[in-house]
C-alpha cells in the first residue's frame, strides 16, 4: 500500500447553507470509490477539519455516481456576511478535504 492525498483519487466541490458547509467528493475513477468510502469516514473528516468544524459531520453515500457528500454544521465561523473567515461560504473546503491522506494499492497509477 502507498499513501496519497485524497486529491489524487477524488475531486470535489463545496458550498454553504448558512453556517453549514457541504463537500461533495467524487471518485476520479469508479474503482477508487470503495477505497474512498472505506477510508474517508465522517469521523476522520471531523478530525481533519479540527477547530473549523464546531458542529457535526454527516456522510451521505451516492454509490451510483461514485460520490460522497459530507455535511458539516457550524463550520463557517457564522457563515455568509457574519463570518470573519476569508472563505465564509466554504468554497474551498472541498480542496481542504483533499489534503487528507488515503492508503491505496501500490499498483494504482493515481
Amino acid at each position: 500500500m502507498k499513501e496519497l492525498p485524497l486529491a489524487r483519487i477524488a475531486h470535489g466541490r463545496s458550498g454553504d447553507k448558512g453556517d453549514t458547509v457541504n463537500c461533495g467528493i467524487i471518485a476520479r475513477s469508479p474503482e477508487y470509490y470503495s477505497v474512498i468510502a472505506a477510508q474517508v469516514t465522517a469521523e476522520r473528516v471531523k478530525a481533519h477539519f479540527g477547530d473549523f468544524c464546531r458542529g457535526t459531520v454527516t456522510r451521505y453515500d451516492l454509490p451510483r455516481i461514485h460520490a460522497l457528500n459530507f455535511v458539516l454544521t457550524r463550520s463557517l465561523g457564522g457563515g455568509g456576511t457574519a463570518s470573519l473567515r476569508l472563505d465564509p461560504q466554504g468554497k474551498t473546503y472541498a480542496a481542504a478535504l483533499m489534503r487528507m491522506t488515503v492508503q491505496v494499492p501500490d499498483e494504482w497509477e493515481a
Binding site: H11, G12, R13, S14, G15, D16, K17, G18, D19, T20, N22, G24, I26, R28, H48, F49, G50, D51, F52, T58, Y60, D61, L62, R64, I65, A67, N69, V71, T73, R74, G77, G78, G79, G80, T81, A82, L84, R85, L86, D87, K91, T92, A94, A95, A96, M98, R99
Partner: protein, 454 residues
C-alpha cells in the same frame, strides 16, 4: 416526445453578464433562467432600498436587458428570473418602460411576489409562527427588532402560471432557485402537483442550471486544465422532455465542457441529504441518479425520484448585529511569518492600551494558513505574507479606530511591512443569516401580469 431547451445564464448577482447574450446568440433555446439571489443578496438589496425605495432589485439588470431584449424578442426565448428581489413589481414597471423604448411595446411581464414577509412579521408572529432557527431551534424573538429581510422561498407553480398567462418575461421575488427552470416545464408539459418524479426531475435540471458556468466547466476541480477557453465559457443548457428526461449540454463554438464529472460536482453543490433534497414543490431523491456521457458535450441524467413536499416554505431572514472590519499589512522576507505573528500580538496590545474593545478577532496569515487554518502544510521560508486581522465590533467608529491604528505599524512596528492598498479599509455592517420555516397555509404567492397588447 416534446422537449424544451433551458439555458442557465447567471449563477449569482455579480456573475458574467455576457453569458446571457452568448446563450441567446449561440444556438436554439426556448427559455433562459437567471438566478440573482444568494442568501446574502436580500440584505444587500434591503440596504439599497432604504436609500432608494425605487430599487430593491439588482441595479445592473435593466442595463443588461437593454442589450438582451431585442435578442429575446427575435429568438422568441422567454426569460425567467428572480431579479425582482425585494421589489418585483417595481422592476416589472421599469422593464416595461425599457421595452417600450427598445421597440417592444407589448412585452408581457409576469410578476410573482408575496414572498416578502417583512410587512407581515408581526401578524405572523401573532398567529403563533415563531420562525425558529432551522439549525439551532432558537425562536426568532431572540433577534426581533434588528431583522432586515425575511423572505419565503416559493415554488414553481406561480412561475408556471405566469408563463401560461403568456408572460414573455417572468420576474420573481424569492423562489427556490430551481423553480426558475421547473416553472417552464410545468407550464409547457402540464405537469401536476402530485407528479413527484417529474417535479423532482425538473428541479434537478434547475439545480444543475442555477449556478451558470459551474455546470459547464467553471470552478471545476476534477481537471481544470482540460476545460477549453474559460475566457469564453459557454453557460449550460438543459434539454428537458415531457417525461422528465434530461440532457445537459452547451452551445457549440464556445468554451467550456459538459462531462459527467463536471455535472457531478454541480449536482452535489449546496445539497444536504441526497435522499431528501427539499424544495417547495417536491422532495427530490438523487441517490439512484445516473449520468451517461453521450459525447460531444452531451450528458444524459436519469433516475431522479420525487416524494410529496413538506407543509412548509423555507424562509430566509437576516438581521444586523455589529460591524466588521478587516485590516492588514504585508510583511516581506526575511522571517516574514515570524514578523507577521509578532506584529499581530503588538497590534492587539495597542488596541488594549488605547481602550479599543472588540467582540471577536480572527488573525490569519495569507500565504501561510489564512484559508485552510491548521489543515495547511508548513512553509519553509516564504518571500512575503499578508497579515490579516478581522474584527467584530459594536459600531463603525470603533472599526475606524482599528483601521487607523493598523497603519501606524508601518513606521512604529516590526520592520519590512508595506500596505496592501493605498485606501484604508472601511467597516461594513455585519449581517447574520437566520434560516427558518413558515407554514404554506400562512403565506400565498401572488401572480400579476403587467403589459401585453392593449
Amino acid at each position: 416526445m416534446r422537449k424544451i431547451r433551458i439555458g442557465g445564464a447567471l449563477g449569482y448577482w455579480g456573475d458574467r453578464t455576457d453569458a446571457l447574450l452568448d446563450l441567446l446568440e449561440g444556438g436554439p433555446l426556448d427559455y433562459v433562467i437567471m438566478d440573482y439571489l444568494a442568501e446574502v443578496t436580500m440584505s444587500i438589496l434591503q440596504k439599497q432600498m432604504r436609500q432608494n425605495p425605487a430599487l430593491g432589485y439588482p441595479h445592473d439588470f435593466i442595463p443588461l436587458m437593454k442589450r438582451a431584449l431585442p435578442l429575446l424578442r427575435e429568438k422568441r426565448v422567454r426569460l425567467v428570473t428572480d431579479a425582482g428581489g425585494l421589489n418585483p413589481l417595481g422592476l416589472a414597471e421599469v422593464l416595461q418602460s425599457t421595452a417600450r423604448e427598445s421597440g417592444w411595446p407589448d412585452l408581457k411581464v409576469g410578476v410573482v411576489y408575496g414572498d416578502d414577509l417583512m410587512p407581515r412579521l408581526a401578524a405572523l408572529a401573532g398567529q403563533g409562527i415563531e420562525f425558529r432557527h432551522l439549525d439551532t431551534g432558537a425562536p426568532q424573538n431572540d433577534i426581533s427588532g434588528t431583522i432586515t429581510s425575511a423572505n419565503a422561498y416559493f415554488g414553481a407553480f406561480p412561475v408556471a402560471e405566469a408563463l401560461s398567462l403568456g408572460a414573455d418575461i417572468v420576474v420573481t421575488g424569492r423562489v427556490n432557485d430551481a423553480a426558475l427552470a421547473l416553472g417552464p416545464c410545468i407550464s409547457e408539459f402540464g405537469w401536476r402537483a402530485d407528479q413527484y418524479d417529474l417535479l423532482a426531475r425538473g428541479t434537478i435540471a434547475g439545480h444543475l442550471l442555477e449556478c451558470g458556468g459551474q455546470a459547464s466547466g467553471g470552478n471545476y476541480s476534477g481537471g481544470w486544465q482540460e476545460v477549453p477557453d474559460l475566457d469564453h465559457l459557454a453557460f449550460p443548457i438543459g434539454e428537458i422532455s415531457e417525461d422528465g428526461g434530461l440532457v445537459m449540454t452547451i452551445h457549440p463554438g464556445q468554451g467550456g465542457r459538459v462531462t459527467p464529472p463536471i455535472l457531478k460536482e454541480q449536482l452535489l453543490y449546496e445539497i444536504g441529504d441526497p435522499a431528501a433534497y427539499i424544495v417547495a414543490d417536491v422532495v427530490c431523491d438523487i441517490t439512484e441518479l445516473e449520468m451517461q456521457d453521450l459525447g460531444s458535450n452531451r450528458v444524459e441524467v436519469r433516475g431522479t425520484k420525487g416524494h410529496p413536499p413538506t407543509p412548509s416554505y423555507k424562509v430566509s431572514m437576516s438581521y444586523e448585529d455589529g460591524y466588521q472590519i478587516a485590516v492588514g499589512l504585508i510583511y516581506t522576507w526575511p522571517d516574514c511569518v515570524t514578523k507577521a505573528k509578532a506584529s499581530s500580538e503588538i497590534v492587539l496590545k495597542r488596541l488594549s492600551r488605547l481602550g479599543i474593545r472588540y467582540r471577536d478577532v480572527l488573525v490569519s496569515i495569507l500565504g501561510c494558513d489564512a484559508v485552510h487554518g491548521r489543515m495547511s502544510h508548513e512553509l519553509d521560508d516564504p518571500n512575503e505574507v499578508y497579515l490579516r486581522m478581522a474584527f467584530v465590533v459594536e459600531d463603525a467608529e470603533t472599526a475606524d479606530r482599528i483601521s487607523r491604528e493598523m497603519i501606524t505599524h508601518v513606521l512604529c512596528g516590526i520592520p519590512t511591512s508595506c500596505l496592501f492598498d493605498a485606501v484604508r479599509p472601511s467597516p461594513h455592517k455585519r449581517v447574520v443569516f437566520w434560516p427558518s420555516l413558515v407554514s404554506k397555509s400562512a403565506v400565498r404567492p401572488i401572480v400579476k401580469m403587467i403589459g401585453g397588447a392593449k
